[in-house]
């Protein structure tokens, strides 16, 4: 266990940035999102949640796949280079780290997504424990410990210090690089912080959310439920929930004509969008109800069915905070629970 005074964090970031790229929460025009560190960047480590989850450090909102260039009447294909530089993501939270696990199950399973794999290979995650969890948080429901982020390096902000504990080889390697700035520390303060966090977590309104009945076997029972017809109604069909979500992994592949070449790229897609899964023969989900149902069925039924019961929600609560119509996964779970209770 090490620690570093908060006032020395800029020095730490500068040092990390010397050898690798560094992404961390940065405030731009009033909002905090993960962005590349620079001397000018307004680093905001004291906020709990970035608007977007940091997943785009590994799965960017858009990334090039290859470019087709025309030379006379011939075509030349130039694949995009895979990530080959080390980078550090600093300040992820336990839920976001868990989110990576969800993405890993998708992208690192056969066939492996090489773009994602390369980023995972080169990325080191320094995660911060949640000093003051908020009412929208429900990570514990999904087995996440807000006080013990399972990253390469786990860190705690306590008082005027940041405590640093490497958990993996990558974490050790990073620790080596920055060791000059770190000092040894004992775990008392960290243990106290963990307990404090756990105590707060217990008080959160969503802590007792029950996932009973939601699993890979619940397919037809949940799918056919009439409740969806009610639940989806306020949905605006925007992509806010999917784009702020740390586990949503759907993307679309598009071409862009630059005039001299065509670049093929992929970009996040949202199952809330009307042309999601639009295929040559048409769309297999024609109504917003079906699209709405898809999102929650995927998180709570389909994904667990394919991943040994693991849910693809980590309880970060971003959708709770950001949905323009105040819909969210918690309301969906509760609605079914309530219905079950009344039956």
């Amino acid at each position: 266990m090490y620690k570093i005074a908060k006032e020395n964090l800029s020095a730490l970031f500068r040092l990390i940035a010397e050898s690798s790229e560094l992404y961390l929460p940065v405030k731009t025009a009033g909002q905090v999102n993960f962005a590349a560190w620079s001397e000018e960047a307004e680093v905001a480590l004291d906020i709990l949640k970035s608007v977007k989850s940091p997943k785009d450090a590994f799965f960017p909102q858009s990334e090039g796949l290859y470019t087709v260039k025309r030379e006379g009447k011939k075509m030349k294909v130039e694949p995009e280079e895979l990530k080959n530089k080390d980078f550090v993501v600093f300040g992820m939270k336990a839920c976001d780290v868990k989110g990576l696990e969800v993405l890993d199950n998708v992208f690192l399973a056969d066939p492996i997504d090489t773009f994602y794999a390369a980023r995972r290979e080169h990325g080191t995650v320094v995660a911060l424990a949640c000093h003051e969890p908020e009412e929208s948080c429900f990570c514990k429901v999904f087995g996440v410990d807000a006080a013990n982020p399972a990253a390469d390096v786990a860190a705690w902000m306590i008082g005027e210090d940041l405590y640093w504990n490497a958990l993996t080889e990558k974490g050790e390697a990073l620790t080596e690089k920055v060791k000059a700035l770190l000092t040894d520390a004992d775990e008392t303060a960290v243990e106290a912080e963990k307990e404090a966090i756990h105590n707060i977590v217990e008080k959160l309104p969503y802590m007792n959310l029950s996932l009973e009945g939601w699993n890979g076997d619940a397919l037809s029972e949940k799918f056919d439920d009439k409740l969806w017809e009610e639940l989806y109604k306020p949905c605006l069909a925007c992509g806010t929930c999917t784009f702020v979500c740390p586990t949503c992994q759907c993307y679309d592949i598009k071409d862009y004509d630059t005039g001299n070449s065509v670049s093929r790229y992929r970009c996040w897609d949202s199952c809330m969008y009307s042309d999601f899964t639009m295929m040559a023969h048409g769309n297999n989900r024609t109504s917003q109800m079906q699209r709405f149902r898809q999102r929650f069925m995927h998180k709570l039924v389909y994904y667990p069915a394919n991943n040994d019961g693991m849910y693809s929600c980590v309880g970060c609560g971003r959708c709770v905070e950001k949905c323009p119509a105040s819909l969210n996964i918690v309301k969906v779970i509760k609605a079914f629970q309530k219905q079950g209770g009344e039956k």
């Binding site: 630059t258 005039g259 670049s263």
Partner: protein, 146 residues
């Protein structure tokens, strides 16, 4: 490694209505009134056919300036087209100015079929303005520069 500075050759798109301005450009041609080759004309039936999307698209794809020419107000072949176009372009240009795109990159000029001289003068002054503003970096898609 020496970095050669590429000479700036602006890309300029001119939308001309079929009845007045395109004919005005033809007259400029038949009168041998020259203007820079940077200007490329797209023929549209009327200035009211010019969608703001076309103008933004031109900038996206790397245009450095976009000019729209139509019949003089009151002389529209379709009687009212240029009145609508005038409002649309005024608001669009104002918005572009508002988000920091140099105002000189957009222009509307009314050129009749008889105004070959005005057409060429207009193009000359517009191109000159674009040269003075240099490359359009504020409103373009970076991918088109590669």
């Amino acid at each position: 490694m020496s970095i050669e500075k590429k000479e700036f050759k602006p890309k300029i798109v001119a939308f001309c209505c079929n009845w007045c301005s395109y004919a005005g450009a033809d007259l400029a041609g038949s009168s041998r009134l020259s203007y820079p080759a940077d200007v490329k004309i797209i023929r549209v039936p009327c200035s009211c056919r010019v969608n703001p999307m076309f103008i933004l698209r031109a900038f996206e794809k790397g245009a450095d300036g976009v000019i729209m020419c139509g019949c003089h107000p009151g002389d529209c072949h379709y009687s009212t087209g240029n009145y609508y176009a005038r409002r649309r372009m005024t608001l669009l240009f104002s918005m572009l100015d508002y988000i920091g795109v140099e105002n000189g990159r957009t222009r509307v000029e009314w050129v009749s079929a008889a105004e070959g001289v005005k057409f060429s003068d207009t193009m000359n002054s517009f191109v000159e303005k674009i040269y003075s503003l240099g490359e359009n970096v504020r409103l373009g898609d970076l991918r088109c520069r590669s």
